[in-house]
Every structure is written in C-alpha cells, then in structure tokens.
C-alpha cells in the first residue's frame, strides 16, 4: 500500500490524539475510583448541623458516644465534641462563668443555686465544618481539607503534627492525638453519614438537641428548621462559613 504524505499526517494525528485520550483514561484508572461506597456521591451532599441550645440538658451522651464511636483518647481528656455550662449573672453577658468538667463526659454536678438571679444553660460544641475553614487554609501539607460534601477532614497519613491548624481554629475544635502525634478533630462521623446513618452524637442525643442535616437535599427537614428559627453561628465576625447553626444561642457564648 502506498502512503502519501497526506495519509501519513492524518494517521499520525489520529494516533497522537488517541495517545492523549489513553493517557487521560489511564490516569483516572491509576488514581482509583473515590466514590467506592455505592449510592453515595460526594457532590450530592453538603453537610451541616443544627444545635438547639434550649433542648440541651447537659447529660453528656454526645461526648461519651463520640469517644466510643471515634476512638477519641479517654485519658487525658481530649474531645471531638464537648458540652459547656454557662452561668451568666443577670444581664452581664460579657462575663459569663463557663466550665466544662471533663468536657461534660461525666455530666454536670449541680454547682449553682436555683433562683440566684443568674441564667444557666448548656452549649454543645463540635467542629463547625466551616465552608471557609481557617484550619484548612493554614495547613502547609494539604493534610486537612474541606471534602466535596462539606466536611472538614484530616488525612492522618499526611499530617506532620505541626499544630498550625490547632492554633488557627477559632473554635478550639482540634487537638493532637497523643498516640499518633497527628491532629484529630470531629469528622462529622464521615464513616457513618456516607452510609446513610446519622452521627454518633446525634444518634445518642435523647432530646434531639443536635440534628445532622444535608443542606443539598431539598427534602431534609433542616431547611424548614432554618426557615422557621432564628439561628446563629459561633463567631460570625470571623466569616468562617460555619455550617453548625445554633438556635437559642445567648450573646454570652463565645
């Protein structure tokens, strides 16, 4: 068969194009399929949480459940979620007395007298899963990130334990795991929510003071809740894009 120059050029171009396509395909095969869990697409979800301060009874169920579910070190006391007790002398919201004995793990022993003119309540805290997380911005190695479904996660195998993110988090939600010397934090029970379960803390909460919500699912009751309640995020002035919404939050809560 005779090959003229036109044929030769056309064939080489096709071959080149095919090689390029093959390269792209090969690369996507090499990096593996991240959507391994069936029926779960990261792009279909955007997770957040609603916390109703007026429903929290300070039982500490969430703290115990979280420790059990996520293997959070029991001693010394580190937490992925914890409960704070606020004692606000009448009208003095700038100087609340805040304590969290063992993070609320063992509940709260009565400390204040009823009827002393103060306001007392519990505030559960956890990672706010910010859409613009300061902790993610400072990580020098890409070991912490906002996942496509809106959860701030840690890549433990990549973390170098520099503690930069621990300092950057305005909510104090991170700690260094004394066993691995890498950072640890609330993962919003990523292993559970991707299987269709709720988080361990929400599962264990007896009063539904905290409820997980999928902000991308139009049928999720979180939308109705956010429409009908006056909610607030913690430290809104920091523009972190927090997705943990508090109902009934007092001005004394920092």
């Amino acid at each position: 068969m005779r090959t003229d120059r036109r044929d030769f050029l056309a064939r080489s171009t096709h071959l080149l194009l095919l090689t390029g396509a093959a390269q792209v395909a090969f690369e996507s095969v090499l990096r593996g399929e991240p959507e391994a869990a069936p029926n779960y697409k990261t792009t279909d979800h955007w997770w957040g949480m609603v916390i109703d301060v007026e429903k929290c009874i300070g039982c500490g169920n969430c703290v115990r459940a979280c420790k059990e579910e996520n293997d959070v070190p029991k001693e010394p006391f580190y937490f992925r979620t914890w409960v704070e007790r606020y004692h606000v002398p009448e009208g003095n919201i700038e100087h609340p007395e805040v304590d969290s004995p063992n993070g609320g793990h063992d509940g709260f022993l009565e400390k204040y007298r009823p009827g002393d003119g103060s306001k007392n309540f519990f505030v559960p805290k956890l990672c706010n899963h910010c859409a613009h997380s300061p902790c993610v911005q400072v990580c020098p190695v890409g070991a912490t990130f906002e996942s496509p479904d809106g959860v701030v996660l840690v890549d433990k195998s990549y973390c170098i334990g520099c503690r930069y993110c621990v300092q950057a988090c305005p909510y104090g939600c991170r700690f260094i795991d004394p066993r691995t010397h890498t950072v640890d934090k609330c993962s919003l029970c990523y292993h559970r929510i991707t299987k269709g379960l709720t988080t361990a803390c929400c599962e264990a909460c007896p009063t539904d003071a905290r409820v997980l919500g999928d902000l991308k699912n139009p049928k999720d009751p979180i939308h109705e809740y956010l429409r009908t309640h006056k909610v607030q995020v913690l430290k809104p002035q920091m523009a972190t894009g927090s997705k943990t919404y508090y109902n009934g939050l007092d001005g004394s809560v920092r």
């Binding site: 991240p34 007392n120 996942s147 496509p148 996660l153 559970r192 264990a204 009063t207």
Partner: protein, 160 residues
Amino acid sequence: MGRSFGHKEHLVRVAGLFVCGLLAFLVLQALLVPRDFGVYGHYRAGALDDNRARPVTFAGRAACVECHSDVPDAQKGGRHEAVRCEACHGALALHAADPTEQKAQRPDSRVLCARCHQMNVGRPVRFPQVDVAEHAGKEACTSCHAAHNPGLGGEAGATP
C-alpha cells in the same frame, strides 16, 4: 565545546544547571506526590476513603427495630417516643451484627435516668427533673416508671 558558544558560555552553563534542577524537581515530585493528590483540591483524594473506613459502633435505630419491633409500639405517644435506642442502651453495633454472642446489657436505671432527669439549674425549666434521692429514696426508677414510656400521673403508661 566552550569555544563554540564564545562569550555566551556562562549563560549556557547556567541554563544547563537550571534544566537539570527542573528535571530533578519534576522527577522528585512525580515520585513523592501521590497520584490522587489534587483530584478534588489540595489534598489526597484517598483520604476520603480513609475517613470512611472506620467501623461503626452505634448501629442506629433502624437496625434495632428490625428485631425489637415491639419497642417503638411501647414508646408510641409517650414522652420517650423520640429517644433513640442507643441513647440509653449504649453503642450496640456488635450486638446488631451478632445478637446471640454479643448480648446487650440492661442499664441501671438509677444511674441512667439521673443523667438526664437529676435536678440541675442548667437544664431547661420545662424539662422533667427531680432530686433523685428525695424523689425515689433507694427505689429503682423502673419500679414505678416504664422506661420506654415513662408516663407521669394520669398519662398513658403511668404505673401507680
């Protein structure tokens, strides 16, 4: 060879060093950076699966009622209707996976009920609270209240 570039030889040497450095950088980068780094952003895409790999310890209410279908009926209309099983019974994924070998423990009502219902000024005023010692003495809570439907005087589920 030096001669052939004349006065520009020093530039060629620098350019050569630069190319060598660039090649070394590219080779090291290809060796050290995981293939899945940067697929979604400045992180390893595989870290999502790593986070997903942890085993579940709380089975969830749906798993509990597969066998214990009588409990939601008992809870119906009561004050504990919305309380999920593992809020009181603890993490029971092991029991759900192997109900014969892994037995669930019955919680001690004096400890368990007091966690939520012991009087505390921090609790919302409308939440039912008692001073357990004064209210029950040494009695177990469950000798008067049905745990799954703890009705108060006159309500369904209340026991005298």
